[in-house]
Amino acid sequence: MKNAIKPLKVAILGSGNIGTDLLVKTMRSPYLTCTLFIGRNMASAGMRKANELGVKISDQGIKAIQDDPACCDVVFDATSALAHIQHWPILASLGKHVIDMTPSKIGEMCVPSINLEDESSAKNVNMITCGGQASVPIVYAIAAVQKDLEYVEVVSHIASRSAGPATRINLDEYIETTEAAVKKFSGAKHVKAILTLNPAVPCVDMQTTVLVQVASPKLAEISESISKIVSKVQEYVPGYQLLVGPVLENGRIVVTVKVCGLGDYLPKYAGNLDIINCAAIAAAEHYAKSRA
């Protein structure tokens, strides 16, 4: 019999939708155990949920980790970019492995289907954006076939109800962060990211389209490369599916994927929040395995 892996201790900083959904996912993982769930407001829905699940909670913010540094090995920071900039030096000095859910752009950008191997040693892992997690694998698969991409575009549509006040006020940051990731993983000279909110009821699933213009498209090879990476993504994002393409339309290669959420804490239509959380869990599990 194999030795059972001792689960890695994680603290979740931020008791909003992302933090609470991460908690539910953490509880399902054999490699992770949540030892502290930290918010600011004991009365918030996330805190009550954590309490109900029997997880230790604190409303002391980052201070809760400073007061008891031994409580965890890994910290998911699901607060805000501004807060993460203040948290990071503290967590770094405590030697924590940090998975950053905010668009602070401090750490190395991580897409589990692509660069987990390289990222295991990084102390601050950045999960980019929901659009980044959905589009970058496709972009990367195309770039593996078509070298020297000139221009890549990624377009995401999400349900209005899944975009909270922070997302809405930070659309520009979403675009900038997603574009940086697409550039890094495609090597394209020019990139563009677009985000549209759709208020339709019932809520629409998250959908992301990758558009690429190339002189002589090798569609068959691209198709194979994409289907490989899609199954790789599906290992950690079960609701990820290829919807369209690759097809050649009006001189463009078009690929559309759709993300249905797992419906853990958040509803299924919030595939945008689900995919970034699934990716974060995959990154944390990878770190757990590498330490075991």
């Binding site: 221009y151 575009e153 377009v155 549509h157 209005s160 006040p165 809405r168 006020i169 659309l171 520009d172 675009i175 900038e176 563009k192 677009i194 985000l195 549209t196 909110l197 759709n198 208020p199 339709a200 629409v204 959908q207 389209t209 558009l211 690429v212 213009q213 919807l243 369209v244 393409g245 097809v247 339309e249 009006n250 463009r252 078009v254 559309t256």
Partner: protein, 343 residues
């Protein structure tokens, strides 16, 4: 109200919405020619850019022939009395990449737009322009998709962020005059800023809707030369000015010169004059963004399906502006469905 002298501020997006009609292929020379004519006619605001506004040149909506900077500079040079305006949709355009550039070129009026239920994505962009001392309006697109009270709430948000006027767009050309009257009345009643209307002609209602808007208290009206614009086109500016003259509504625009500008547009900009095509009527009926007509026609031909089916399916899915990639998905699905039915 009826007896008072009434006046209306005209905004002319020929060089922006018209770009939809030529797949965003307007050149800097064309822009300069029409902008000069509009300037001579005394049109107060001339809007320039890609069909979806600043930073919207993309494979998704269509790559623009002329980049934002060149297009805006071409117009800036000749607009001596008219103000230079831009359309901005957050999600396409960002402050760092696009708004700064437009400020540098010297754009006077920024019209910051969102889908009619999503005004809070415009807060940062409206505030930014306000801080930089330029004029900034709020625009609610696809306004037929929201009820009066929701429109009032969203418009109030834009006002709170600092918008100095509020425009509702009938982006799908789906309104009939009574729709416009009730919405504009509600907005005029609730807001402390001028209210405007931007029409499309899918159901042949653009001029009538614009008149209804003014009668309901709107003081800003959009119109384009020859109706040059997305889908069945916009409210035709020359006809609009003539009707306003007849109704005694002042615009400050010279009728002969705006007629001349229309002729210039026809000669130098327009590929085919806007008509209320079958597909445009369906676009209006299904309440789908007028700018989808060109890509829907193209994709329908490629996939060998009826463009009208695509429009009704897009309408059923309640797509908003900027979701052009959905057309291919819908076409793929419809053609699969068609094959299944045949087999």
């Amino acid at each position: 109200m009826q007896n008072q002298e009434r006046s209306v501020l005209i905004c002319d997006p020929t060089l922006r919405d018209g770009n939809h009609a030529v797949r965003h292929q307007l050149t800097a020379e064309q822009i300069a020619i029409y902008a000069a004519a509009a300037n001579v006619a005394g049109i107060p605001i001339v809007e320039v850019g890609h069909g979806n506004g600043l930073g919207a040149s993309s494979l998704q909506v269509g790559l623009a022939k002329t980049d934002d900077k060149s297009a805006l500079e071409a117009a800036r040079k000749v607009l001596t009395t008219s103000k230079l305006g831009v359309h901005v949709i957050p999600g396409f355009a960002t402050i760092k990449k696009d708004l700064r550039l437009a400020l540098d070129v010297g754009v006077d009026v920024f019209r910051i737009a969102s889908h009619c239920t999503e005004a809070d994505i415009t807060e940062r962009h409206i505030s930014y322009i306000r801080e930089h001392g330029r004029e900034v309006y709020g625009v609610l697109m696809m306004s037929h998709m929201a009820s009066e009270d929701i429109l009032v709430e969203e418009a109030s948000k834009m006002q709170a962020y600092g918008a100095e006027a509020l425009i509702i767009m009938d982006s799908a050309g789906a309104y009939i005059p009574s729709d416009v009257t009730s919405r504009i009345e509600a907005l005029v009643d609730a807001l402390g800023i001028p209210v405007g209307f931007h029409g499309h002609n899918n159901l042949g209602m653009a001029i009538a809707n614009s008149i209804s808007a003014v009668n309901a208290g709107a003081t800003i009206i959009d119109g384009t030369a020859r109706g040059f614009g997305a889908g069945a086109g916009n409210t035709q500016l020359e006809a609009l000015i003539a009707v306003f003259d007849k109704l005694g509504i002042k615009t400050g625009i010279d009728l002969y010169k705006v007629l001349d500008a229309g002729d210039i547009a026809e000669k130098y900009l327009v590929e085919t004059l806007p008509t209320i095509s079958s597909v445009s009527i369906v676009s209006g009926l299904s309440g789908v963004f007028s700018g989808y007509v060109k890509p829907v026609n193209r994709i329908a031909a490629e996939y060998n399906i009826d463009p009208r089916d695509i429009f009704f399916e897009l309408g059923r899915r309640k797509v908003v502006a900027g979701q052009e990639d959905m057309i291919i998905e819908v076409a793929t699905e419809l053609s699969k469905r068609g094959r299944n039915e045949r087999s």
